[in-house]
């Protein structure tokens, strides 16, 4: 075991194939006899289906079949798609069928599946399926949906509440009684969709002789997809193999099980041919899960010296039409609120509402950005109210490093108490402020104002649960050629697993990452897995690779010792060989050992040798490990147009030990881009009939290269005590505090005008409207 590779910024092994266009995303896969699927989808957000006529569609040359709900096999017809995360707080569980039976509950819900020789023809036919609808009332806004039951998202419900729960720590009533300062705010927050560049897709094939399916799917976790399908189709484990090819981005929603995957499998068996479905971008806007709206009504009680006495309020969350993820997103939101601050009294009532919109699934940040926004904007208000510096208010409330591990008093989505294991929050904020030259800002701001320009600075802190359990596994195996392979259920969609996990294995085996191949996301190659999301892979898969590789190293040494006629403590591993320490010319190569390990005549394994150089390990974290970060953003606001320019972006980030610093930097910068999008650009607009309006990239605005500022980064490293590598997750830390910091900066820029910003995203028009007479009435400059 050495420490040569973990911590090194080695270049990615997978890059050359990507750069040459030689990898395989789902749509790059061709199979003999493959047919193509397209769907006829509900144009209404809420409608009853009265009748369907598929005859015209079937008559199109090249069309092989048109499936409706009635055509699905019994087992699929009689159950909905699975509930992935059950929870007692869920009041009414609503889940979709693979095709709409009688009631469509969001625009885009699939009603008919057309199979044809080409996607072009399938779309021709999908247009010709004639459907009679009775249009129903819609539940359009989650707050309206709570305050009135006049419009229910589901016909057979009398209320729109999907779930409600309460977080309750300490005694908020007592804390608020006689509190010297109480700050109340309503925040409205909107996030948008993941908008990965590669749309979803799946290919199903069915082997009649084995009565078994293979599903290739662009997803974030093959094993989870498999479990859903085993349940839905009532299959046994050996009847389904799920494989993730190269995946072009995921950000959360590619981890869900979607109805289209069931449909291609049904069609594959009925037609006896592989069936491919590739989501087009229009479908992506309508049917890929999103995060959307949250209304926060919160109050913060603080003492005269800005110490938090208590926080209480209500969160109303838009769940969308169905609830496959239970209460995961609002739960994460609620439990993220306290962040790095000591809050002994905290109560939040949470309502998760059904609306007639596509369902909500975690999108990078997963409900945490909204919690951070609420908390950090409240901290800014405290600073404004008490006339204190924003950084000072936060400093006075930090959990101190000596208090680690710190029990926040609430339960996280993994069923475990929120206990921050490690981290130095004061140091992190100090590092960020120093790097951002926070001290010098006042002068920059004044100088700018003299020139009629408005600069602002904002900051935000976040603590993030990462390394979510229950496990992720890895098999490390040395084949009889001596080659090292790592198999894992983790599925990269850009996170560089094929390099980082090779680095971990390389250290344990004293090998070179270039000699280690990492194969991901194939349920046939590793039996159990969960997937890559929620910033968990470095912790879970990384630790499993470490454990498995260490065990294989021990097996190598055990065999080597026998073959070199010595004891195990007399050998070491160097350069693909087991070496006798006292005489390094005496070696046995991995290859030789591997050949022995699978059994050779005359070679006895009776002395306790285990056959094969293969170990599968599943790291099961005791609980989440907590990363933290501070973002400091400097902006310039054009008060005449409302345009916002980010002039400086600084991040201090602690995600424990880094396997590959270059990869971590990449995750943070990429995460910041999402945050900029959420703060200033991205909005899924629906009309009042829950009809999606912004359904193309011209209207839904993603950040461009020209929207990205330079980013200055400081890395802190407080290793996690909860896994052998000391790592924490890094995938979402760039996004989580970003929105709050940016909005805080914009508000600070507009402080001469007494502008308060309580919603996100904020547009130039919003800013001009908030400026009111200052901009509208002012004669032009």
């Amino acid at each position: 075991m050495n420490n040569k590779w973990v911590g090194a910024s080695i270049k990615r092994k997978e890059d050359p194939a990507f750069l040459k266009g030689k990898v395989q995303y789902i749509d790059d896969i061709h199979m003999l006899g493959m047919l193509h699927a397209a769907f006829t989808r509900s144009p209404h957000a809420h409608a009853k289906i009265l009748s369907i006529d598929k005859s015209k569609a079937l008559a199109v040359p090249g069309v092989k079949a048109v499936f409706l709900y009635a055509d699905l096999p019994d087992v699929v017809r009689h159950q909905t798609l699975p509930l992935l995360v059950p929870h007692p707080s869920i009041i009414t569980t609503k889940l979709p069928f693979a095709l709409v039976n009688q009631e469509a509950c969001y625009v885009g819900e699939p009603i008919a599946c057309v199979i044809a020789e080409s996607r072009y023809i399938a779309e021709d036919a999908a247009q010709l399926v004639e459907i009679d609808y009775e249009v129903l009332d819609v539940a359009n806004d989650c707050l309206d949906a709570l305050e009135s039951s006049d419009h229910c998202a589901h016909l057979d419900m009398t209320s729109n509440i999907a779930a409600k729960f309460q977080i309750n720590v300490g005694d908020t009533d007592a804390a608020f009684k006689n509190a010297p300062n109480v700050i109340s705010e309503r925040f409205f927050q909107h996030r948008g969709g993941p908008f990965f560049m590669e749309c979803r897709g799946a290919i199903a094939s069915y082997d009649e002789s084995a009565d078994a399916y293979t599903l290739h799917v662009s997803s974030q976790g093959s094993h989870r997809i498999k479990r859903c399908m085993l349940e839905l189709f009532d299959l046994s484990d050996d009847q389904l193999r799920v494989v993730a090819p190269d995946v072009g981005g995921g950000f959360g929603p590619k981890g869900s099980y979607y109805p289209e995957y069931a449909n291609v499998a049904v069609a594959a068996k009925v037609l006896g041919r592989p069936i491919k479905w590739i989501e087009d971008r229009r479908e992506n806007f309508l049917t890929t899960h999103q995060e959307r709206d949250q209304y926060w009504d919160v109050e913060l009680a603080v003492s005269k010296d800005a110490k938090i006495l208590g926080l209480r309020g209500r969160l109303v969350h838009d769940n969308g039409a169905y609830v496959p993820w239970g209460i995961v997103v609002p739960w994460i939101s609620a439990t993220t609120v306290p962040g790095p601050y000591v809050i002994e009294n905290f109560k939040l009532d949470v309502f998760s509402m059904y609306t007639n919109k596509i369902q909500v699934t975690s999108v990078r940040g997963a409900g945490r950005p909204q919690a951070v926004f609420a908390m950090e904007r409240l901290m800014d208000r405290v600073a404004q109210t008490l006339g204190l510096d924003a950084g000072e208010v936060r400093r006075r409330n930090f959990i101190q490093p000596e208090q680690m591990p710190y029990n926040v008093g609430i339960i996280f989505r993994d069923g475990r108490p929120v206990t921050y294991d490690s981290g130095d929050y004061p140091a992190c904020q100090a590092a960020a402020l120093s790097k951002a030259d926070y001290e010098g800002f006042k002068i920059r701001q004044e100088k700018a104002r003299e020139a009629g320009r408005y600069l602002g600075i904002g900051m935000a802190n976040a603590v993030e649960a990462t390394g979510l359990g229950p496990y992720e596994g890895a098999t490390v195996k040395i084949s009889t050629t001596g080659k090292i392979t790592v198999y894992t259920g983790a599925v990269p969609q850009g996170q560089s697993h094929k390099t980082t996990l090779a680095q971990v294995a390389a250290d344990a085996l004293n090998a070179d990452p270039k000699d280690i191949q990492v194969i991901t996301g194939d349920t046939a190659l590793i039996g159990l897995g969960i997937g890559t999301f929620a910033a968990r892979t470095a912790v879970t898969a990384g630790s499993s690779v470490h454990m498995a590789a260490t065990d294989v190293a021990n097996k190598l040494k055990a065999y080597g010792a026998v073959m070199l006629s010595c004891t195990i403590d007399q050998v070491d591993i160097h350069n693909g060989h087991v070496v006798l320490k006292s005489d390094p010319q005496q070696t046995k190569s991995f290859r030789e050992i591997a050949v022995r390990s699978v059994g050779m005549p005359g070679f006895s394994m009776a002395n306790g040798l285990v056959p094969g150089l293969e170990t599968t390990s599943y790291f099961t974290p005791d609980r989440s490990t907590y990363s933290n970060g501070t973002h400091v953003v400097e902006v310039e606001v054009d008060i005449h147009t409302g345009g916002v320019d980010i002039v400086r972006y600084t991040v201090a980030h602690d995600c424990g030990k880094l396997i590959n610093p270059m990869v971590v930097d990449g995750q943070i910068v990429g995460g910041i881009a999402h945050g900029i999008g959420n703060a200033l650009l991205e909005q899924m607009v629906f009309d009042d009939q829950a009809q999606p309006v912004s359904t193309n990239f011209g209207e839904y605005l993603l950040p461009l290269s020209t929207n990205m500022p330079k980013v200055d980064m400081v890395h802190l490293e407080t290793p996690s005590p909860l896994n052998p590598l000391g790592v924490k997750g890094a995938g979402e830390g760039g996004t989580i505090p970003a929105i709050a910091a940016i909005i805080s900066a914009v508000e600070n820029a507009l402080s001469p005008f007494d502008v308060r910003i309580s919603h996100t995203p904020i547009s130039p028009q919003d800013i001009v409207e908030l400026l009111g007479e200052h901009a509208l009435g002012e004669t032009a400059l």
Binding site: K11, K20, K22, H30, M197, G249, V669, S705, T706
Partner: protein, 161 residues
């Protein structure tokens, strides 16, 4: 109605003769008729740039061109960049700077930059930032793509001299 045409298209120096439906887009032709799957479909409405190829040396959105329009034209795709199987200077800079994560936007970025660096061998940071505004990336936050482009420009200038 199926309307077909015979076309002859030169791609990465090789001429391909095929009969195609007139409604087939150029990107679908490259990917599915010619098996050159390095060019990607990201939006089919001309915004994301994942489908960017060079047509007669000019970057275009191949989702907005028909295959029949490429008849007798010369196309360059990402598969035509490597030299004898080795990454070219721009590609190597992408690896050096960690300019790709999921890789889906990468071929479009490379083709846009191939045209740009050929026409602007000594660009400013701002010019690089602006030329990339027609290509979306959801993973990297663009900064490492920009630094790779600046680095490649310098290395290409050095290679010339």
């Amino acid at each position: 109605m199926t309307d077909k045409r015979s076309i002859a298209v030169k791609v990465n120096g090789q001429t391909y003769e095929r009969e195609v439906d007139t409604r087939m887009t150029l990107v679908d032709f490259l990917r599915h008729e010619l098996d050159l799957t390095g060019t990607h479909v990201g939006c089919e409405h001309g915004v994301c740039g994942a489908c960017t190829v060079l047509v007669n040396g000019e970057s275009v959105r191949s989702c907005l061109m028909l295959a029949v329009q490429a008849n007798e034209q010369s196309i360059q795709t990402v598969e035509g960049l490597a030299v004898n199987g080795e990454l070219n200077i721009l590609q190597q800079c992408f690896q050096d700077h960690h300019s790709l994560q999921c890789g889906f936007c990468t071929s479009g970025m490379l083709m846009t930059l191939t045209e740009f660096l050929r026409d602007h061998p000594n660009p400013t940071q701002q010019e690089v930032q602006e030329v990339l505004s027609g290509n979306l990336c959801r993973c990297t936050g663009y900064l490492p793509i920009m630094s790779a482009a600046m680095d490649a420009a310098q290395k290409m200038r050095e290679a010339q001299s």
